[in-house]
């Protein structure tokens, strides 16, 4: 059997769904947005959610309409650029999954899906589903690093890091900076994002030295940028694609209080 007939066979065997979409359309930051309704008759269950949006955009372009602007890049769940609210849930219904890794097999024929941007004071809408998340970069700029310049580093094995310390630091470091935690938080707090960097570096011997300054600077910056306070609802971890633990927030609070005491 040649590959063409196999492809047609696969196409014949596929599950095709009708999907209704309610998508947030907004021209720019200064105009009001609204939900628009679209229907796709030919959605393959094996498509990714973003491929379904590609399909919609192709249809809109051919009809002479503006395609929906949405953020995405690697489409393998690691760059953190994609992210929308799907039926009110950041990145959609699957646990620990980015929008790009969500597939249409998670939905049923005839479903209506609400698609909206990540909403937070610190994330202004650029257009449609695209938001500006540069505030997260600003938090890192405030101190989310170990201050070591190129060339200063000692021999790598002179800094011993136990297996447990390294694994635990990795768990914190795995954050992809997508902003789902902020979008899902009723206070639009960036506590999970900020704390994951603070904890990663505080857990490592090479990062302990400047932990006090780092923590205070990052927390202050987070507040200056208009993110809300954490009230421990723990919704952030539930919708985090990397399952970053809220224990990082506890560690951030500990590091912060410690830094204040030292002062």
């Amino acid at each position: 059997m040649n590959s063409f007939s196999l492809l047609s066979e696969a196409i014949n065997n596929r599950i095709v769904m009708k999907i209704h979409l309610k998508i947030w359309r907004q021209k720019n930051q200064n105009t009001k947005g609204q939900l628009e309704t679209y229907t796709l008759d030919d959605v393959d269950a094996e498509m990714s959610f973003l491929e379904m949006l590609d399909m919609l955009n192709l249809k809109l372009a051919k009809q002479g309409e503006r395609p929906v602007e949405f953020d995405h890049d690697c489409r393998e769940g690691i760059c953190g650029q994609c992210g929308v609210m799907i039926n009110g849930i950041a990145h959609g219904p699957l646990k620990n999954t980015t929008t790009c890794q969500l597939h249409m097999r998670s939905f049923k024929d005839g479903d209506t899906i609400f698609v909206e941007p990540f909403k937070a004071k610190a994330f202004p809408v650029i257009r449609d589903l695209k938001v500006n998340r540069s505030a997260l970069d600003e938090i890192i700029a405030a101190g989310g690093y170990i201050s070591v310049s190129t060339g200063q580093a000692p021999e790598a094995n002179s800094i011993l890091v136990s297996h447990e310390e390294a694994e635990s630091a990795f768990d914190s470091a795995a954050c992809i900076g997508c902003g789902a935690c902020v979008a899902t938080c009723k206070n639009a707090s960036a506590a999970l994002f900020t704390s994951s960097k603070i904890s990663q570096l505080a857990k490592l011997p090479q990062g302990k030295k400047e932990s006090n300054k780092r923590t205070v600077d990052m927390v202050n910056r987070m507040e200056d940028l208009g993110f809300g306070h954490c009230t421990n609802t723990e919704a952030c971890q539930v919708e985090c694609p990397q399952d970053i633990s809220v224990l990082n927030i506890a560690q951030m609070n500990y590091e912060y209080n410690k830094a204040k005491l030292v002062k």
Binding site: L60, G64, E76, C79, R133, Y145, T150, P154
Partner: protein, 640 residues
């Protein structure tokens, strides 16, 4: 008649060249550095590390990326690891061994001096990354762990679970943000470079489009670094991010920078297979999986049983059979070609019969599921998310996919292109990997170029620019470049044709996979060239781009990238057609050994083909950089 070009390689023994260079390179005193501006395009590992390192030295940096944050550059997606010569495993590693592995892995088509320097600088990178807080895998004692990768017989790969690229990139990104905070870096996110500006023969700036507003901007500097990555996305279906593109290097090419070996694309053997016609990308599964996974296909084409029901004697572990000494860790070009051979013979598995099995059942039996989960847990999770299949219970199905560009802008030993003041680092250049890159050498090259080479070689160039005033962006060269960019963007919008850029891209990708992919032939390449020319003609009049130029417009961004792909693809085919030999990833059907391996021709083709823009896409000028092997004698590459 092809011209010969040279790479200004320092004198001396292989192991002394880089030290000699550093000992004699020109310097800029600390108080002069703040007067000198450098543009760095791209914020992946190469771009971020170069920008941060140069800023730390005191230069004024303008850093550009098209993503919404520097942390999203595609280095983030590299999974398995980064190679470095530390010999922590005491298993016989040395700088020379690493150099030789890389040179041989590249099928003796890279420059000895560059490849040696890559190995020489590798150890410092691990020191730097650890100091930055990169959480590499550790033994219980606290010492760093290693694993093995394809094409080598030592364990020199350092890793942070299956997210090594992400963790290294975050280290470089954080260093960049630290310099931004200190005022040494100006960051331009969501900006795309659309042209290079040359004044008096030197690179002096760029034209960039603000992707959020559509505004066209002029940026001047004393030097420009392109760290814009690879262009495997030209094949449409690839392991690359959707936005990866060749536009910066292609537009530099059209301004006179030479483009070397553009057809050498690595096709990665362990990606997920295509599952349907709507697919937008293929996801890579790390090569590290081949440490414990065994690759096989059923012996019979008619096989209908589930993989678990097929008895051992009816399976063909073809890599172990054909390459007993390297087995499942044969280099990528060889593993991909072997998979294609099985799939073409009708033994592929899966609904489209376009995949082979990667089986962990033996490893799980030997080490237990817990250990396998610790090594590759996130990859197994990712596999399940995409396919819905639990790979602890049944084998993964994998397939070859376009991945890495060994080719790119031609650079000399200083990583400077043929345009003075224009440097190319990381995957954007062609320098270190020859005709095939070894696994875990990509992160390494990006970091070594950015942290350890560019800071020295840029300074050597900038030392002569101290007296040169800040670049005037009102110079006619900027006006001319900006007008050209504006004209092209309006041309895209005004056509109002019937096909979107994406549709053109898909068609182009199919042509390249068929005729300029894992296997190439003279006839096929000639057909491809004429198909690409036809597609390009259609693109000139039948393109559909909705929206406006002066606005955020993803479709317009794609149109520019696809327009460049439609030109670069022809150069790739011309390059592949010119090279009447097989080497590494470049496999010409006419040139193979009796057992189907690549047959090199060192007499006629031991050179890098550096193509020069002639003003016409279809008639580039060939320049040859002859590869002189002074320290190593090329041999027939064998992994048997």
């Amino acid at each position: 008649m092809a011209k010969e070009i040279h790479a200004t390689i320092p004198e001396g023994d292989l192991k002394d060249k880089w030290s000699n260079y550093k000992a004699h390179a020109k310097l800029v005193s600390p108080n002069n550095r703040k007067k000198l501006e450098v543009i760095v395009v791209g914020t992946g590992l190469a771009g971020a590390s170069a920008a941060a390192s140069l800023a730390e030295m005191g230069y004024k940096i303008k850093s550009f990326c098209f993503q919404d944050s520097p942390r999203r550059a595609h280095s983030v997606a590299a999974q398995g690891g980064v190679n470095a010569m530390k010999n922590y495993q005491n298993d016989g590693d040395s700088v020379y061994r690493m150099f030789y592995d890389t040179l041989k892995g590249g099928d003796f088509r890279s420059r000895e001096a560059n490849t040696y320097r890559l190995a020489e600088c590798s150890a410092s990178l691990i020191d730097q990354a650890v100091a930055q807080g990169v959480p590499f895998g550790r033994e219980y004692s606290g010492y760093l762990k290693n694993r093995s990768f394809g094409g080598v017989q030592v364990s020199r790969t350092f890793y942070a679970r299956g997210q090594t690229g992400q963790q290294l990139l975050l280290g470089a990104y954080q260093a960049l943000m630290r310099q931004k905070e200190q005022g040494n870096v100006q960051l331009y996110t969501r900006h795309e470079m659309l042209d290079l500006v040359i004044i008096d023969g030197k690179a002096k700036g760029i034209i960039a489009r603000n992707l959020d507003t559509g505004e066209i901007e002029r940026h001047g500097a004393h030097a420009v670094i392109l760290a814009t990555g690879g262009f495997g996305k030209i094949y449409y279906l690839s392991t690359l991010a959707m936005g990866c593109n060749a536009s910066a290097i292609w537009r530099a090419y059209k301004k006179g920078a030479l483009m070397a070996n553009p057809s050498w694309t690595q096709v990665h053997p362990t990606s997920l297979p295509q599952s349907g016609p709507y697919q937008s990308k293929l996801t890579l599964m790390s090569e590290s999986l081949r440490n414990d996974g065994r690759i096989w296909v059923p012996k019979s084409k008619e096989e209908q049983r589930l993989p678990g029901e097929i008895p051992e004697e009816e399976r063909d572990y073809y890599l172990e059979r054909k390459y007993p000494s390297f087995g499942n860790l044969a280099p990528r070009d060889i593993a991909s070609r072997a998979a294609k051979e099985q799939i073409d013979a009708g033994k592929g598995v899966g609904a489209l019969k376009n995949a082979v099995y990667l089986d962990f059942s033996d490893a799980i039996k030997e080490y237990g599921q817990e250990l396998i989960a610790e090594r590759y847990g996130n990859l197994f999770t990712m596999y399940q998310k995409i396919t819905g299949i639990d790979a602890y219970k049944e084998p993964m199905k994998i397939s070859p996919s376009a991945h890495f560009s060994m080719g790119g802008l031609w650079v000399d030993y200083d990583l400077m292109t043929s345009i003075p003041g224009l440097f190319a680092i990381g995957e954007a250049n062609f320098s270190d990997h020859g005709a095939n890159r070894l696994g875990a050498n990509s992160l390494l090259q990006a970091c070594v170029d950015g942290y350890y080479i560019a800071p020295y070689t840029l300074q050597n160039y900038l030392a002569d620019q101290i007296q040169v005033k800040k670049t005037d962006v009102n110079h006619p060269a900027f006006t001319e470049a900006e007008e050209k960019v504006q004209k092209q963007l309006h041309h895209f919008i005004n056509q109002k044709g019937t096909k979107t850029a994406e549709e053109f891209h898909r068609e182009l990708g199919k042509i390249l996979y068929d005729k300029c992919g894992l296997s190439r032939s003279e006839d096929g390449l000639k057909i491809a060239i004429s198909q690409i020319q036809n597609l390009r003609e259609d693109f000139k009049t039948n393109l559909l781009v909705p929206g406006d130029v002066e606005d955020i417009n993803s479709e317009l961004e794609k149109a520019g990238r696809v327009s460049d792909y439609l030109e670069l693809s022809e150069l790739m085919c011309i390059d592949a057609l010119n090279r009447n030999e097989s080497c590494g990833a470049h496999f010409r059907e006419e040139f193979q050994t009796e057992d189907g391996e690549a047959k090199r021709d060192d007499k006629d083709f031991a050179y890098s083909a550096a193509w020069e823009w002639s003003g016409e896409v279809s008639s580039p000028i060939l320049n040859k950089e002859v590869l002189k092997f002074e320290f190593v004698q090329p041999t027939q590459r064998s992994y048997k």
